[in-house]
């Protein structure tokens, strides 16, 4: 094994860590900033696959871990909402093989609909959480997470954030480990969560968390820097790096395992300094726990809950500076590419005066000028449910204008159950769904999905999940397929008819993403692609 230094992103480092930890299967759904973990894991020779959504990914991962071998499950922070159902209960069942869930937060929302803080999930579900600050730690903590997962037979979250995922820093890789091959051993009381088996499982979980906290106090990855007795800073993740630069004279406790917190070590640290403050990105998670445990820390000003931290903001936090922060000059906002097939679609939908319940993807950019033609966007798949709700209650004139617009990858991720509801609870005026099918998961960087006919590594999957056949089979009255470039008249006609009728219509506007065409051509030529 080479222990040469390398410059790599946090995502690359997690992938390498999983390879060196002997992970058997990597599984996830694309989501900025987590996407490149599985892509890199695949390039390193790991077996990696995209699931239709994060819930399925987590369940596949649980299956691997129940089979006694190691799995890496990747997603962005909001993906954990989708995967929350299996996530909470796998904390009870526990796992046999190591299960690591790499969850990437997006403080400041570079590319997300909210800035939820995944540390709250660790506490809510009782799942231990490690938090690396740079690529070296991302590599090491991925390996450590697998070890801890098997030591306590519990899944472990690796909490990442944009600045860890997408920053390149130096990594000196270590050794590879080999793990036992998969082998199933029956243990129904442990894995079938009927109430009778779940009640003791919950108690076992809480007992393990007490043990983990003791381990974290004694030998957790929580180094102390500096020896000031005046000012102490408790920090986690990349916030700790900002603090090391911003306040070089402070004594800094850098927490690498943020759940369960090493409270004894934290309280001792607080006692060793005159003044102590927690520097953390997002919610006051550590601060709240420390205050509840009776630790004396100076509360952080509320304004620093919002957005990313950096060296300047950390200085302000430590100084207790509540003055207005200078707003950075606004740069040019992103937009749909020139030549993007979505452009013509939105021009037409705008012309028809549609009320558009939208969804998550490149096409969300249609909310910005020059289109400004999206009315709602909540979460993956919400275009259909929200559209149906509005159809049910609005007066007919408005109801007929409601159109749900969703992309192909998002449709497979979370649109199918919406279609089932549309067929089952049919609005009086019917409904119209437009699937903008550009044949890829474009916004996150052109990933494949079950509807593209290709696997994560862009090789054929053998069978394609057909959007039109699925909709027809579910009972949609009419499915129309148009090319939004060459058949705009037919597209417009189909929309007018669908909105005027009481039919349940799905219009599939199918034309490949122009960036995917370029990427596919490179792939065919054998050149390096993502």
């Amino acid at each position: 094994m080479s222990n040469e230094r390398k410059l790599m992103s946090g995502n690359e480092a997690v992938a390498l860590g999983a390879m060196h930890a002997g992970c058997a299967l990597g599984v996830g759904y694309p989501g900025t900033p987590s996407t490149e973990i599985l892509e890199n894991y695949s390039k390193l020779g790991g077996k990696a696959q995209w699931s239709p959504n994060e819930k399925v990914a987590a369940e596949v991962g649980i299956g691997v871990a129940f089979s006694g071998t190691r799995t890496l499950v990747t997603m962005k922070h909001v993906g954990l909402n989708v995967a929350a159902d299996p996530f909470f209960t796998v904390a009870y069942t526990g796992v046999t093989g190591g299960m690591v869930m790499a969850v990437a937060d997006d403080p400041g929302m570079a590319s997300s609909q909210n800035e939820q803080d995944s540390r709250n999930y660790a506490r809510a579900a009782g799942v231990p959480m490690l938090e690396p600050a740079d690529s070296q730690e991302a590599y090491e903590m991925t390996k450590l997470a697998f070890e801890l997962s098997e030591r306590w037979n519990q899944p472990v979250i690796l909490r990442l954030c944009t600045r860890v995922c997408h920053s390149k820093t130096i990594v000196v890789p270590g050794e590879s480990t080999s793990v036992p091959p998969a082998n199933y051993e029956r243990d129904i009381k442990q894995r079938v969560m009927i109430p009778a088996y779940a009640r003791p499982a919950h108690k076992v979980l809480r007992g393990k968390l007490v043990e983990m906290e003791a381990w974290n106090n004694a030998e957790g990855p929580n180094p102390i820097f500096g020896d000031s007795s005046k000012l102490g800073i408790i920090a986690d993740g990349v916030a700790a790096l900002h603090a090391l630069e911003a306040v070089p004279d402070a004594k800094i406790l850098k927490l690498g395992m943020v759940y369960p917190l090493p409270m004894k070590a934290i309280l001792e640290f607080i006692d060793s300094v005159d003044d102590c403050i927690v520097v953390e990105e997002g919610d006051p998670f550590i601060q709240t726990e420390v205050l509840a445990a009776g630790g004396k820390v100076r509360p952080r000003l509320e304004r620093y809950r919002f957005g990313e931290l950096d060296v300047v903001r950390v200085k302000r936090i430590v100084d207790g500076d509540d003055s207005e922060e200078p707003a950075p000059p606004r740069g040019k906002p992103p937009q749909l590419c020139d030549g993007c097939p979505h452009r013509a679609s939105f021009d037409m939908l705008k012309k028809l005066g549609c009320i558009i319940t939208g969804d998550i993807g490149c096409y969300t950019l249609s909310v910005l000028p020059p289109f400004e033609t999206m009315d709602t966007c909540v979460c993956m798949g919400a275009s259909i449910g929200v559209g149906l709700g509005m159809r049910h209650v609005l007066p007919e004139e408005q109801a007929r204008k409601i159109v749900s617009v969703i992309g192909d990858s998002t449709f497979v991720h979370s649109g199918l159950t919406g279609v089932a509801d549309m067929v089952y609870n049919r609005p009086e005026t019917g409904h119209v769904i437009v699937i903008l099918d550009n044949g890829t998961t474009a916004m996150t960087g052109l990933q494949e999905h079950p509807g593209t006919g290709k696997k994560l590594d862009h090789h054929p999957s053998g069978k394609t999940v057909s959007l039109e056949n699925t909709c027809e089979a579910m009972g949609v009255d009419k499915v129309v397929i148009v090319d939004p470039q060459r058949e705009m008249d037919q597209f417009e006609q189909a929309m007018k008819e669908a909105m005027a009728s009481n039919d349940l219509t799905v219009v599939i506007a199918r034309r490949p993403c122009i960036l995917a065409i370029v990427r596919d051509a490179k792939f065919e030529r054998g050149e390096k692609v993502r």
Binding site: S167, K168, V311, P329, G331, L336
Partner: protein, 156 residues
Amino acid sequence: MNKVTNVKFAGLGGQGILTCTDILGRVVFDMGNDVKKAEVHGMSQRGGAITSDLRYGEKVFSPMIPVGEANYLVVLGEDQIEPNQHHLKENGILVKPSDFEADKLENKRTLNVALLGALSKHMDISVEQWMEAIRQQFPERLVAVNEKAFMLGRGE
């Protein structure tokens, strides 16, 4: 005193910001420095304004350059100066396309590498070190045109 050099790149998604940051990253990495590079992907890929931070020195902590601490600001377009000027340190150096004859570029897409050429005039790094990183960065068919762009930016 631990001296860290900060280079900030600013432009629009698709202009090759991440590529030229990677090239500089490779150069200073090969020189044995601690290196950190921070960038934001995602929405910003779609033609929006993006910046990329490259920091190097004996020991770098934060991956992000504090506002007003950039020793160099490299902009891919003159329209990027105003929104990013505040990142530049007092007496910091601005590198922009009008520093050289950008209209003489064989391929407009190599502007990013030409700017590295312009940046290189202010740095104590040999041309050969830059060329080595360029050769590692690009597939063979793109090496020559980028080498030329670099030299054009350097004014040689």
